[in-house]
Amino acid sequence: MPEGFRLVPALQLDELASYHQDVEASLRLYFSPSNPTYDERFVGRREDDVRQELKSRIEESETRSALVLLTRLEASFKVDFDIRCKKRKKDPLSRHLREVKKKRKERVRLDEDILEGWKRHYPALSGAIGELRGAFKVRHWLAHGRYRVPSPNYNYYSIRRIADGIINEFPLFKEGAV
């Protein structure tokens, strides 16, 4: 009987970055002669092939980390949305989002409803919202099986920079906020 996923608290962005660094360092060690099982794992292979395989593993790891970062960002906006609606905050964005919820009920969309509301009420952040929208296209590409050609404008590091900017600049309410 499978145990299923254990509910662990969602990692914060800096913890996700540390996790990613640990995974990359582990991969580099595993694909190096310092790994005691290096000869067993790669017997008969050229060192150059092994380096290529490492590169491919790191790229895959970056892709996965980028997806987790983007889903974390998406969750941050949805948690903020819920708090603004439930706690009946009085600022213009919260009032706007409550109107959206009243109109669309359970069909509130991240891009057209939530991010559009942010853009309207925080025009100074519209540049960051534009970047985030572009990054979310990558999130959809990743989450839907990567069957089309990805945008060349994004990688793990650019998404990490966008995520850091959003978390630092946006007045997002977090879980437990009054």
Partner: protein, 183 residues
């Protein structure tokens, strides 16, 4: 931080020293040793096939192919093609600058391929290549990786989960041929 800088310099010195290890190696000799081992493999296989070649049911030929390896450079090595009626199997040399072995030849047939590796004659599975270093009283002995085995032997690497090295003999080679020739 002064101590930190010293540590980094030591690390750098170790790195520079580790890159000097290959300076005394005669790469032409490494190449020739591998080509001799390749010839001995061909000789062994011709021995297995002798009666069929004599009877005319199996034929063979050699073609020189170009290999390019780090440190050694470009050189020629022989590919052996074995013809069994309408089926054809090639033994393609991959090179000697490889991980965990001294040479590799890929047996390629219409139904698959297999690796024949020149490895320490004492190993019987890939897990035997795992290196364990035990430090006694803080002193780390020289890595076993540096130690050369007493003798090398051609073995077939199985594709099973355990990845065993099967001694190359008449029976194992015939089994390999039938597998990759779709017999």
């Amino acid at each position: 931080m002064v101590t930190g800088v010293r540590m980094e310099t030591k690390d750098f010195e170790r790195f520079v020293a580790s890159q000097q290890g290959d300076a005394g190696i005669d790469w032409a000799e490494v190449r020739d040793e591998w080509l001799r081992a390749l010839n001995s493999l061909h000789g062994k296989i011709l021995g297995f096939l002798r009666e069929y070649i004599k009877a005319g049911t199996i034929s063979y030929g050699f073609t020189e192919i170009e290999l390019n390896e780090p440190d050694i450079g470009i050189y020629l090595a022989k590919r052996m093609d074995i013809k069994i009626g309408r089926q054809s199997v090639s033994l393609v040399p991959l090179g000697t600058m490889l991980i965990g072995c001294k040479g590799r030849v890929d047996a390629q047939g219409p139904a698959g391929h297999a690796q024949i590796l020149l490895v320490n004659e004492k190993v019987s599975r890939a897990a035997d290549l795992i290196k364990v270093t035990v430090s006694v009283g803080g002193k780390v002995p020289h890595s076993t990786r540096e130690r050369k085995p007493a003798s090398w032997a051609w073995k077939i690497l199985t594709t099973t989960v355990e990845r065993r090295f099967v001694d190359l003999d008449k029976d194992s080679f015939f089994a390999l041929l039938m597998e990759i020739a779709n017999a």
